[in-house]
Amino acid sequence: MKKIMMILFVSLIAIGLAGCSSDENVIEFWTPLTGDDGAYMNELVDEYNEQSEQELEIKHVITSDMYTKLYTVMNSGSGIPDLTLIHADRVPSFAKQDLLEPMTSIMEAQSELNEDNYLSEAWTAGIVDGTQYTIPLDIHGSAMYYNKDLLAKYGVEHFLDDDIVTYDEMLSLEGKLDEGDYVVNDALMGWVILAQIQNLGGDIQIDGEPAVNTPEMKQAIEQTKAIADAGLMTPYGEDGYLMFQSGNVLFSTDGTWSSTGHAQVESLNFGVTNIYSFEPDTFHNRASSHLFSMMNNEERTDEKEAVIGDFLEYIRENSIKWAEAGQIVASKEVNESPEYEKYMQSFFTKNEAEEDSLHIYTYEHYPYVAEAIDTYIADLVHGEMDIDEGLKEMQKVVDDKVAEGSLDIENAETDAEE
């Protein structure tokens, strides 16, 4: 027993010492890409490192809780990654908190990293007050999958003729479905509502103030509730995602990335279209984007920045691999290539109207708004809660959070200085 303990102690110390050596010759690249997405990104990084003539290598670090971890390293000032993949909704608040370094020098070094070469919605998601903070990798967002066999069974393939399924079309199936079948599930319901707000010409802010309790929001929720009331939506608390996979639901409103998951189900014969809408001529798909960014770090050398630029340019040209993850690749060179067409999500870049339908909210307090919607939406749509009351509470939650957020910290600091 004592011997074992001695051996353990010695090896502990050895490992402890080994951990101290940190590698200066790698570029730490943090992503939140867990699951298969991470594996695809690994392949991209490996391919880059293999062909690269640079001395520095990119080291891809996947973190299941990346933002918490980013906060901890930014706060402590050590261990800050060289390159980070962040979501579009983080950009405004990160930029405001001065956590991001502009991409200016990278863009100067790599002339192809410019607006014309990317989907504009993804590119502009990285602009805050005229400064470009990010280079996009992809757009990923709401998508509506349909079960081809069920559409045929109920003779409603014509819903898809104009690529838009409307509320009216869905409601027309009331009373016509077999027991246990549903028209649509309630997966990612919050995103569906955010798309409807765009369809109705509304917004989630008025003059920079969060606007949740709006007529558009109310109409969007009421209309969606009508589907649930008609018994056409998967019931509250049921796993609508699985029910679609098991072949009981005509439409599933989940994400672009789900195509790979649905493809695992052999019995499921499915396709992809836009999120349902009010009118056939106005439609949106709420989206987000994975964006390359550099967290503020004085220790990042010019040499490293040069390699980062080189890597981003490589990704721009060669990220077809990323399409396998089910995401809409942001680089036009990739998403306009013939090879890209075999991927289901190419639906969303097939023409200008589709590209325009992708909507990324760039409002500073979008995360608070989205959280409030996510917290309340299921209760509202499934009739557990009065809509007016719910909207009032949601507005209040967002207002209070905004008031507690950093704006006040800035005020407090200026107060202290006065």
Partner: protein, 292 residues
């Protein structure tokens, strides 16, 4: 001779005190400090005095007041129901296992302990498939049409089921070991006096395992106040935030996708800590006093 300072306690408790200061006391003090500030986790905290506490405790209009009250209420529901079950069920299992005539003790014990080893996400997935209305067994078996995770009180029941399934193993082992250690002659003389098994349990077993009972009660209660994974995974806090426990609000405020509101979150955590302290001190005091 007697006046000579005895330094040896320092060698025994000193190392742990250093560990305690570095890894528990300092972070806790920082957490308490943060509760008097506005802080987004990244920048430096800005001192606001008692503002956070005033908002949480007294500002009736504030979302944070509502979250605190609602979260505390749900936490108390969870603690109030789960803790007695987490004591009684493992105690009964332990009593049954320690029965003289029972064989295959290790087999039974393993089955009951192993669920506690499974990661919470896998456990949640297993149970949500079981409770799933279409695919699951619960509704097929009982022929009910309810969606459990979205209807009260079933949403709570789902949470308690997974909590107990995964959580009784530790207490069971402590009880079993304790009962095993009760001197056999106590039972023998009780039998001679004609005491039945139930009376033996109350007059011999329970008093003999008093400390293990206090210990498990205090620790289980403190653990239950910190719950968040089970409701998060099983019901996402619904329906109507009816199963959102305080720890879920705290984590959301501090670590969700918007800018962090860590000052308020810290103040809620400190208040939760105070409640845990009072309750466990009460438990310890009452159990000790009743027994002596």
């Amino acid at each position: 001779m007697k006046k000579k300072m005895n330094l040896s306690p320092i060698f025994f408790v000193g190392p742990h005190i250093i560990l305690f200061i570095v890894f528990i006391l300092l972070p806790s003090l920082y957490g308490i400090y943060a509760s008097f500030t506005q802080w987004n986790l990244v920048g430096d905290p800005v001192w606001v005095g008692l503002d956070n506490y005033k908002t949480i405790l007294f500002d009736q209009d504030s979302t944070f007041h509502y979250q605190f009250i609602n979260g505390m209420k749900n936490t108390f529901i969870f603690v109030g129901i789960s803790v007695p079950l987490m004591i009684i069920i493992p105690l009964l299992i332990a009593v049954a296992l320690e029965h003289k005539g029972v064989k295959m003790k290790s087999f039974f014990q393993s089955i009951i302990y192993v669920p506690g080893l499974i990661s919470i996400s896998a456990a949640a997935l297993i149970w949500s498939l079981i409770f799933n209305k279409q695919l699951g067994v619960v509704n097929n078996l009982f022929g009910s049409d309810t969606v459990w995770s979205a209807t009260q009180p079933f949403a709570w029941i789902v949470i308690f089921v997974i909590t107990i399934w995964a959580g009784v193993g530790g207490n069971m082992i402590i009880y079993r070991a304790s009962i095993n250690g009760v001197p056999k002659d106590l039972y023998e003389s009780a039998q001679i006096d004609g005491a039945g098994p139930i009376r033996q349990f109350f007059s011999i077993t329970l008093p003999s395992i008093r400390f293990p009972l206090i210990y498990t009660l205090v620790m289980t209660t403190a653990g239950a106040f910190n719950v968040f994974a089970q409701p998060l995974m099983m019901t996402a806090g619904g329906p109507r935030q009816g199963t959102t426990v305080l720890m879920m609000y705290i984590r959301d405020l501090a670590f969700s996708s918007g800018e962090s509101i860590a000052g308020i979150a810290s103040a809620m955590a400190v208040l939760l800590g105070v409640v845990i302290l009072i309750i466990s001190a009460l438990q310890y005091y009452l159990m000790n006093r009743n027994a002596s």
